[in-house]
Symmetry: C2
């Protein structure tokens, strides 16, 4: 019932604790014969190194942390997180690392979690998401000396390595796609204005419109929920300068927009084209299927985990640029009416 320890193994093998430790860690100091015998016993009684003991004598925590800082209600609908997590896991599982997850209500809470995790030695490092401009988390992890990797544009990451993709290029691609279809007036329903990547997309949106001589209302900022997306869409579609295409910052809002348009008697794509950011299975399930920007979110997660583990091992790492999101044209975009 009680978990076996190296002392148990030592007793059964008739050697000392030290010898067992050497044997099980593949270090020199024991004969191959003894090593094999010790390993066999460890195997037999189902021994696992006690993490706490190992940690206490200087090893890492064997875990990395991820704090998700969005209101709980919206988490479920956002496939992003689970995809990211599964990507991170893929990298961790291979090394028997674990993932600590915490949902926080705000930045202060999140910072408190980081302090606690690091102070308690619970994690070897963290992955930071959804950075703001001048994000307070960056200086905090910096002063804590805690390894951290940012998922998002390096401009907000300060000295921390970032895993990012060129969202401006992706946005340009979307606008070019719409312009090629003859759209002259494009709307945008964005995420929270405070997020760094929202600002980047906003700027890229304006620039791309200007470069191609298109018109567009300034981005409507939302909290990523379908409800907010619906509201913003309603406002856009009932404005005097009604757009013929709308770009959404996530798929749930795009879907809500789709419904609102149909409700208002606008056929999609005949009367309105819709583009979603992040291509989840959702996009292919609805009618018409949503034109979407596909990026490999699990891959980003995996890459971030990889960087973080190397960083935690003391290596000095640089950020990585992932492939930009690719536009997947589907039935929700068509020539302008």
């Amino acid at each position: 019932m009680k978990r076996p320890t190296i002392a148990d193994i030592a007793r059964r093998a008739g050697v000392s604790k030290g010898a067992v430790s050497y044997a099980l860690n593949g270090r020199p100091g024991v004969s191959e014969e003894t090593r094999a015998r010790i390993q066999a016993i460890a195997q037999e009684i189902g021994w696992r190194p006690n993490l706490a003991a190992r940690l206490l004598s200087g090893a890492g925590a064997g875990a990395i942390g991820l704090v998700v800082c969005r209101p709980a209600r919206f988490l479920g609908v956002e496939p992003f997180f689970m995809e990211l997590i599964s990507g991170i896991e893929g990298e961790l599982a291979a090394r028997s690392y674990a993932l600590m997850l915490q949902v926080a209500a705000g930045h202060e809470d999140e910072i408190a979690v980081h302090r606690r995790w690091w102070g308690e030695g619970r994690v070897d490092g963290v992955i930071l998401l959804d950075l703001h401009a001048d994000d307070p988390r960056v200086p905090v992890v910096e002063t804590l000396g805690m390894p951290a990797v940012v998922i998002g544009h390096p401009s907000a990451a300060g000295p921390l390595p970032a895993v990012w993709s060129d969202e401006a290029a992706a946005m340009r691609g979307v606008i070019e796609h719409l312009a090629a279809l003859g759209h002259r007036r494009v709307g945008r329903v964005a995420g929270p204005a405070a997020l760094a990547h929202t600002a980047i997309r906003d700027a890229a949106f304006e620039e791309a419109l200007a470069a191609l001589g298109l018109e567009g209302a300034p981005a409507a900022h939302t909290d990523y929920t379908g409800e907010a997306g619906a509201r913003a869409t309603r406002r856009l579609l009932s404005s005097r300068a009604r757009p013929t295409a709308i770009v959404y910052d996530n798929d749930i809002m795009a879907l809500a927009g789709l419904s609102v348009a149909q409700e208002m008697g606008l056929e999609v794509p005949a009367g309105l084209s819709v583009v979603a950011w992040d291509d989840s299975p959702l996009c292919q399930v609805v009618r018409p299927p949503l034109t979407a920007l596909a990026r490999d979110i699990p891959a980003s997660g995996a890459r971030a985990a990889q960087l973080l583990l190397r960083m935690a091992a003391g290596e000095r790492v640089a950020g990585v640029e992932d492939a930009a999101a690719r536009l997947r044209p589907r039935g929700s975009t068509a020539p302008a009416p």
Copy 2:
């Protein structure tokens, strides 16, 4: 830079390590005056108890584990997990407990994770999801002596406490709702047949149909993906005895079914009524909004976490029955054509 320890505090306060330990844990053995002084110093130098050390001297791991055992690709679209996690977190955060999350590919992998977590002392217990009939995980955690709580019907949980809701009653409610609308032939697109709760819903479905004298094809089993849901729907709708209503085991499949019906020229709800299990924000965003079974998933998660923590504390706990899912009639169900 180095993390302060109680020895540092002891030195600065001019007392022994033991006194510091008593003072900081609110245990008797020091005067209030000394306690205050020690606490002030701890506060000042930013001391946090090192988890490993605490763990090593007998305390719990301060974390519970959750292994999610569905293919990574499908995780994202299933709002269930994130809602569950946020509910669990709510309970844990208050007690400064942490959640260890791992995505596993199959039961063997999941069992390996449990063995490792328990062997390493990483978790104080686990929450088990998606039980099968004769689930191999139950005897494993049983022999490990690891506290565990099952989310799902007690019939599959063996001796483990379960957090569950009466899915049979919920299913009856759905069928009664449809029967009242005049539907005589009802289809069902279910989750994987191996899952215990799928079997329970299947049985309840058949029984309710029989009780009300309705017809129905046997449940079509899927992997919960939109794609599979679409396929199953197509088959149901092109069968000779086409149903006038279909009950889906999750919302993404219901949504896929909606699209398929429209594709085949069937208006929802005029030509086909659709009911989704689990009422995510998705259901309210689509047109027509989906009639759905709403259950409080975060609450279940919170309850499970609560039970598990009490169990880990050595208490003997019994399972809890949550409120049954409530049917939220919306635009996707209407009188039979």
